[in-house]
């Protein structure tokens, strides 16, 4: 997200002379990014919808089959019903929770994994650990993404978390590469040399002193992974390799393949529009966050 540097320059210091940190500067800059704030607001709306599903406040009847086959939009069924009379509105709202669940689990775990392996590879760059991690990343990168994800999901079929595992096992790679590069840069700085000098153990240096300094990368990368996970979940569910129990936009779009030829588009439209809204909003949010946390622009 490009913005005019002069117009968004943070105030040099407050009246009381409080010291500005990278985070406070980033927060200030983020708040000035209108598109980012709109995206963030939309994401919050989706999050509330997901929380409502998790707490059982709404969309509890997503599996009921009381409506007729392909009922049109009505006061009772806001988005109509599907082939077996299920309420498409409730199913599409329920799918928000599925998207958040998948997005959060995959984003958090793949970011943690990427951070751990990337920092180890970066800190021990040129050594055996680095070679192993780079080899692993190279191997996984050489396999087409959806082929690999489908293969893992297929191999673990029956496991409710097969899709999560499949995505985590590939999504950590980009994070890991970024973190490795950052750690290689950081490990030569004075504070790390000082830690070495006073005898701090290597793993303490890595995880206590270096990794916290890559948080801005991890945060941005997590948001990107979140969006990628949602999109992948939809594709995998569409292919029958995704959500096992529950509902997702991918399954709804998959259902719509039985319906569009009969001229019934409600499932397809509901799932597509809601997914587009969330992915678009998260992309806007992610872009703004990236701009806000970019040290070259913030400092």
């Amino acid at each position: 997200m490009s913005v005019n540097a002069a117009s968004v320059a943070p105030p040099a210091a407050t009246a009381r002379g409080r010291r500005q940190t990278l985070w406070s500067k980033a927060a200030w800059k983020f708040r000035r990014d209108r598109a980012g704030m709109i995206g963030f607001g939309i994401v919050l709306v989706y999050l509330v919808a997901a929380l409502g599903v998790w707490f059982g406040w709404w969309a509890t009847g997503w599996a009921e089959v009381h409506g007729g086959k392909w009922s049109p939009v009505s006061g009772e069924y806001w988005f109509g019903t599907n082939l077996i009379g299920q309420d498409i509105y409730q199913r599409s709202i329920y799918s928000i929770a599925t998207a958040f669940e998948v997005g959060l689990v995959v984003a958090v775990l793949s970011t943690l994994l990427g951070a751990a392996l990337g920092s180890l590879a970066g800190f021990f760059s040129g050594r055996f650990t680095d070679e192993v991690v780079l080899w692993l990343m190279g191997v996984l990168d050489s396999i087409p993404f959806y082929l690999l994800v489908a293969a893992i999901a297929f191999a673990l079929e029956g496991n409710a978390y097969a899709m999560h595992i499949a995505m985590i096992s590939t999504f950590w790679i980009t994070t890991s590469r970024l973190v490795r590069g950052e750690v290689i840069k950081l490990k030569n700085l004075e504070f790390v040399e000082a830690a070495h000098a006073i005898g701090v153990p290597e793993y303490t240096i890595i995880f206590r002193h270096i990794v916290p300094n890559t948080l801005h990368i991890l945060l941005v990368q997590a948001t990107i992974t979140f969006v990628a996970a949602i999109k992948s979940e939809v594709i995998l569910s569409f292919l029958g390799l995704g959500v096992k129990d529950g509902m997702s936009w991918g399954l709804m779009i998959s259902e719509s393949t039985l319906e569009v030829l009969a001229g019934f588009f409600n499932n397809f439209l509901a799932a597509s529009v809601l997914m587009f809204g969330l992915v678009m909003a998260f992309n806007m949010f992610s872009d703004a966050l990236q701009d806000a946390l970019d040290p070259r622009k913030v400092s």
């Binding site: 599996a63 077996i84 319906e259």
Partner: protein, 629 residues
Amino acid sequence: MVPGYHRRPMPAAALWPRRPPAARACAVAALAWLLLASGCGRDTSSSGPPAEVPTAASMKIYRHGLDQGPSSLDPAQSANIYANHVAINAYDTLFSYQYLARPYQLKPNLAAGWPEISADLLEYTIHIKQGVHFVDDPAFPDGIGRELTAEDFVYSIKRHFDPATRAQGAWLWQGRIAGLEEWKAAGADHAKEAEGLVALDRYTIRIRLTQPYPQLLDTLTQGYSAIVPREAVAYYGREFAVHPVGSGPFRVVSYDTARIVMDRNPKYRQEPVDIWEEGYDPATQGEFGLERIQGRSPPFIDRLEIHFINESSARWNSFAKGDEVQYVTVPNEQLDRVLATRDPVTFRQEISDRYFGYAGLEAGFVFMAFNLSYPEFGYNPDPERERRNKALRCAIIKAFDWPARNESFYGGIGAVFPGIIVPVVPEFDPDMSRESVTRDVGGARRLLGDNGWNAENLPVLTYGTTATVLNRLMYEQFRAWLKEIGYPPEKVVLKPYATFGDISRAWKESELPWVSKGWGLDYPDAENTLQLFYGPNGSPGSNDANYKNPEYDALFRQAKVMLPSPERTAIYQRLNQMVIDDCVAVTGVTRTRVHLWHKNVIALPDREIVGGFFLKYVDVADVPNGGER
């Protein structure tokens, strides 16, 4: 097809799409062009009358559409209708079904007439037609197809018992034809005779049974019984699975995963059709122009193409486009566009104007069954628990909403019926009580409550199915119905399988407490569905429910050796009632298939029994530059 195509028999290997080197291909093309240019395109080797030489423009081509293709063209592997579509058209079978008669009626095909049957019903003597030849093929000396003899039939059936063949059809005759198992145990040496299956002379077969087998002739209509030449099996080895050498109405020209192309067999015997003997009914079939084939000898088309199009929308589009496939089974999602009314089935005017069509019940049914080997639902060492299990099964059956299932997944035009005797067989009783297919949520709840079942103690029901969106919706619908009778949704667990082969294996290995499947009749006799619940057929046999009822088994054994009669029908119906009373299965629905075909196609398509036996009678009218052959 290149312009100037001619029907000169070529070595099949030259016709086979093996992608010869470019130079060789060019040489073949140049040679073919030279031959054509010099007017050498006359069929000279055919034993029948000289065939006309159709050009590409005048060829009569019929393009058939199917939802799947065969995985093998070897008759020993023709386990489904897709393989049968090829097997019975590339090869000959002793018997067949009358083209137009419904219910299906047997007729001799390669057999010269009906068999002579001994008084004890154990010995069949069958004479076969003389002068029938296999197609020309490099497998034969000088590439000329030899005459088909009784020995070929004996060899073809024995192949099913030869471990080297890895055939799938042995179950049809296992324990029925005397001596075949012993022949197999002795090493499956084709030079040795099997006691119950011998060629008495060049044109006479004798089959000796271990017990009466009223469906024997039906089994001899199937692709499994198609007659193959021993030389071709030896010549092609494993390649025989993609290189048919038969004596049927067509010969295979090319085959891949998208389509099979079969040309008219110029040697096919001349047998004029009498549509009245084939069961022609002007009242229901008069509009299809079938009189045009009266007195003519099939096949009437020069080329048969069967296109395998898995995706229903693509299949429909190919049909509706006009110049691709000429037949389609209407997918459910198109029914609203095709049908004006559903009961009775009538077509919209714009459809009737463009296509011929009819709707008919499938020869089979869809049902679900409990696997009674699971103590949670079926047989249990504790008699009290077993009694409660039966109540649980009956409650689940009462929860099932057949009309809704029919509306959602079978276009609302399926025939829901009680029991396991399907509507297309003569033993079906339309007056049976429909209680077992009538939803009764209150009754189901009462049944559960009266027998001590509640949300806490109900067992987990693992619902296995292939991972398709349609099957998933069926599961969700079922789970929702069970919820209405108090079955917690979290106790109805989906177990997806990647392929039908996977779940089929799971059923065979008794890995699932719930079996949800369709069954297509092998022959039009209720015995074929009643055997699905015959105790000795338990897993890995066809009795996936593992139903074991001594009374049922005894009655089944009694009936299966009886010829059709009111007494046998009465026994069949008692067996049917036992399955209903014991709450073994949620059953069933027979789907109605809606067939459409182009108006220039003269045919009555059918894919129910055997599959594709009608294809040799198909004719195509209004051929550019051509007329009736």
